[in-house]
Symmetry: none
Subunit: 211 residues, 2 copies
């Protein structure tokens, strides 16, 4: 498809010789298009590199894993995934509180909150954004959380807890509705944690009604 | 796109000559669809008028600004508020399940689901939409639910339950993430109801950390 390192590549569209920052931008632009066109699962380092006119090794050098590259296209700071993963490295009975505190903390932090807001808005305003977010959540995030849970139906549990947190941040940070908007973080965590804990490790009803 | 005043327009799809009230309804229906499909920012007078089969000037004549048109579309189908109100006319211990079943039912029903989707997308994509939704929720919906609760802090309880339901419909209807998207309604209700019930009538922690 294309060859060579971008720093040596005069055949790049536009003929510009990008510096390192330009190369990164070109990779991100290509990654966004490939993720949009093929979904999270379908997009490949090779395809993204080809479209950006660089070697796949350079994509890996700049962005690490496919997760990290995808996170970068969403402008998701790398510590988001890391902190969420760490939240579940604890005793099962503490997971509800830890998940709440970590996720709300990511929204409180300006460095990560803006990125999370952008992602939520994108997912809600266009189907492509929703598709990408779904693939990513199904493929990675829920799986990652679920792998920390010993309980039955771990993916359903992780997702139920996530829905509560997403609804809570919408009320608090997006729509800013009282009294959720003004409560101290510790109070919000204390209010949500028991329900999150129930989803993560409590008794869930059987799917008695499943057709 | 389309021309002429609707009252003179025989080329309207279907060839019907609507009266003023029918024209307004057609514009509102078109506006709801356009806001839902494109968000507040993306929807235009021209596109709404085209879909309604009227001149953009007529849309402006009836509804004024885009904000005012949006506010008009926010007037949900009257049965939404009515059905939510009815959900709380029951024994306190049944409220969690009734609230879940009613709210999810409104999203399942095409007649009301499109309006709810439009509101959610708009609230998330522009601050004005968020303001409108906040005013509506604070002024009407939460107050109405809270008035049915005998417990302490009824507005906080109603809002917490609402955040869980909003997060759940985002996962199920907007992002369509599995396994939430494919579960039978009865299963989703059974999964959410205990937590909703806890918010509505259970013991909530004191605000020990309030500054």
């Amino acid at each position: 498809m294309t060859t060579g390192n971008a720093d040596e590549d005069d055949r790049r569209p536009g003929g510009r010789r990008p510096g390192q920052s330009g190369t990164k931008d070109a990779i991100l632009a290509a990654a966004r298009e490939q993720f949009a066109a093929k979904g999270y699962a379908g997009a490949t380092f090779r395809g993204i590199a080809a479209q950006a006119g660089v070697d796949p090794a350079l994509v890996r050098h700049f962005f690490g894993t496919k997760d990290q590259l995808f996170a970068a296209t969403l402008h998701l700071p790398p510590e988001v995934l890391h902190r969420l993963q760490q939240a579940f490295e604890c005793a099962p009975e503490d997971m509800g509180e830890r998940f709440a505190r970590t996720y709300l903390g990511l929204w409180e932090d300006p460095a990560t909150g803006a990125a999370l807001m952008a992602i939520m808005r994108t997912a809600l305003t266009n189907d492509q954004g929703a598709d990408l977010l779904r693939d990513f959540l199904q493929g990675r995030l829920v799986e990652q959380v679920a792998s920390s849970l010993g309980a039955d139906r771990p993916r359903l549990r992780a997702l139920l807890a996530a829905t509560q947190l997403v609804g809570a941040v919408m009320a608090r940070y997006v729509v800013r509705i009282e009294p959720m908007a003004s409560l101290a973080i510790d109070d919000v965590v204390a209010l949500l944690a028991p329900n999150l804990q129930h989803y993560l490790t409590g008794d869930l009803p059987d799917h008695a009604h499943r057709p």
